[in-house]
């Protein structure tokens, strides 16, 4: 009998493994979905570790900011500055807490201003291991009533939508992802278009015809046409406009309203009920200043 050399065994295994994964890809394309079971296992396996590491890094960060980075200062003149250092440590700690409290208060105020719209607050616990996609994990899942395609926002504006929901965690596809799209309209002319992600900090608003009057700095709101985000949520502001003679549509670069690159807490809209954004302006004068274009009261709940 002819023995199979070890290299041929490896090559056979390589071919088999690649073919199996190609079949797996084909199954996903054919079903237009995902192989959910594998994802559930992987996410359920990793999310406790992600939560733990998020907690460790959060506390390490605070420890570093409050103690370690000040050690050198204390060593310089420990006797004279001991009291000052203690106060600095305390101050840094309080500032950190104040910042967190501010963020949570803004979130709470926003939620209180829209008590008619059910929403769930969630904390961002991790991101995607794929540097090309913009996905984050939040610490809420189907046990909290979350479902796929629910809108995710902050008081600043649209963040993204729930891409996958697991028992205790969910994946949020951020608006900046190249596979993402939001039905949007220009505040001035109410012209509708689609805001797409570019995997860069800016977004792109497409399907706005070249003869539309658009100005840099103009606000863009959700149109509600995508059946995911309620109407009149802030999406971003026009940053740059380019026209191409070969295309009937102009290309509008959009600066997102929400800080997609530093999300810590978010709100998940549990229904697609429109938000009365005017209430928010009344509740927060700062928010009114940040949004000079008055937002028309949204239509009544579905």
């Amino acid at each position: 009998m002819i023995a199979i050399p070890s290299r041929h065994k490896s090559l056979t295994l390589l071919a088999g493994v690649i073919v199996a994964q190609l079949l797996l890809l084909a199954v996903q394309i054919k079903r237009q979905g995902q192989v959910r079971l594998i994802r559930v296992w992987a996410v359920e396996l990793m999310s406790p570790v992600q939560r733990a590491s998020s907690w460790v890094f959060y506390n390490l960060g605070h420890g570093w900011g409050n103690y370690v980075s000040l050690r050198h200062t204390r060593e310089d003149d420990q006797a004279l500055h001991a009291e000052l250092d203690r106060l600095k440590v305390r101050n840094a700690e309080l500032e950190g807490r104040a910042l967190e409290a501010d963020r949570l208060a803004t979130l709470l105020k926003f939620r209180d201003a829209h008590t008619d719209v059910p929403m769930a607050a969630a904390r961002v616990i991790g991101g995607s291991p794929d540097s090309g996609s913009q996905i984050v994990y939040i610490d809420r899942g189907s046990r909290d009533g979350l479902k796929r395609d629910m809108g995710v926002i902050t008081p600043d504006g649209v963040v993204g939508k729930l891409f996958a929901v697991y028992p205790d965690t969910s994946q949020v596809l951020l608006m900046g992802d190249k596979e993402s799209g939001v039905g949007a309209m220009l505040a001035g002319t109410r012209t509708q278009g689609v805001v797409k992600g570019t995997s860069k900090p800016e977004l792109l608003m497409d399907y706005v015809s070249n003869d539309t009057k658009v100005s840099v700095g103009e606000e863009i709101y959700s149109s509600g046409q995508d059946r995911i985000y309620p109407k009149d949520l802030p999406v971003g502001t026009v940053a740059e406009i380019t026209t191409d003679r070969r295309s009937p549509f102009m290309q509008i670069m959009v600066k997102p309203s929400a800080h997609l690159d530093r999300l810590e807490e978010v709100l998940v809209l549990l229904t697609r009920q429109d938000l009365e954004m005017k209430k928010e302006s009344e509740a927060s004068p700062a928010a009114e200043q940040a949004s000079p274009v008055p937002v028309k009261a949204a239509e009544s709940a579905h």
Binding site: P5, R7, K9, V49, V124, G127, S131, S133, A164, R262
Partner: protein, 176 residues
């Protein structure tokens, strides 16, 4: 006809390294968690490809193509599962990297930092080509450039990082 087996395994003078139990799964899980964690808080971290570094390190050290490709497949599929990408995209790329990493590890000495840097840069770009080819040609997703300045920067950054990560992982080897 006489049965003649030709030895095509690792070169006899090149040592095959073994690790304490639990080191490989711990490194895999840690790489995936850090890969998911850092980019949320630090923008520069999107250049990192820690799962690739772990795949490459164990492939180069264990020098067994079968275990290299199976480890690459596992890491790739886990990365796919935790990302929004179709399951198999990173899986295929890392399977191939694991296979060729082990094959190269069995033929040349890859202990020197310069060799590790160069191999990481080359395998990072190879991984990128495999990923883009699979997503563009097989899945007909939006075509991305094989190479661009950010990709080349990322390759160099990962190459530099590999020197540190690999020497850190060397400490978990069983004494020969």
């Amino acid at each position: 006809m006489e049965n003649t087996d030709i030895y095509i395994g690792p070169e006899p003078h090149i040592e095959v390294h073994k690790y304490y139990s639990g080191v490989v799964p711990a490194a895999v899980v840690l790489a995936l968690v850090l890969q998911a964690f850092f980019p949320v808080h630090f923008r520069w971290a999107s250049y990192l490809e820690l799962p690739l570094l772990v795949t490459l390190y164990f492939a180069l050290s264990k020098r067994n193509p079968s275990s290299g490709l199976l480890l690459g497949m596992t890491i790739g599929l886990l990365q796919d599962s935790l990302s929004g990408t179709p399951i198999g995209l990173y899986g295929i790329a890392k399977t191939v990297v694991g296979f060729f990493g082990s094959s190269i590890g069995g033929r040349i000495d890859v202990e020197h930092p310069v060799a590790r840097f160069l191999l990481t840069v080359v395998f990072y770009l190879f991984h990128r080509v495999l990923f883009v080819m699979t997503s563009s040609f097989l899945l007909a997703q939006r075509r991305e450039a094989f190479f661009s300045l950010p990709i080349l920067i990322a390759a160099v950054v990962n190459g530099i990082l590999a020197i540190g990560v690999f020497s850190l992982l060397d400490r978990f080897r069983k004494p020969s």
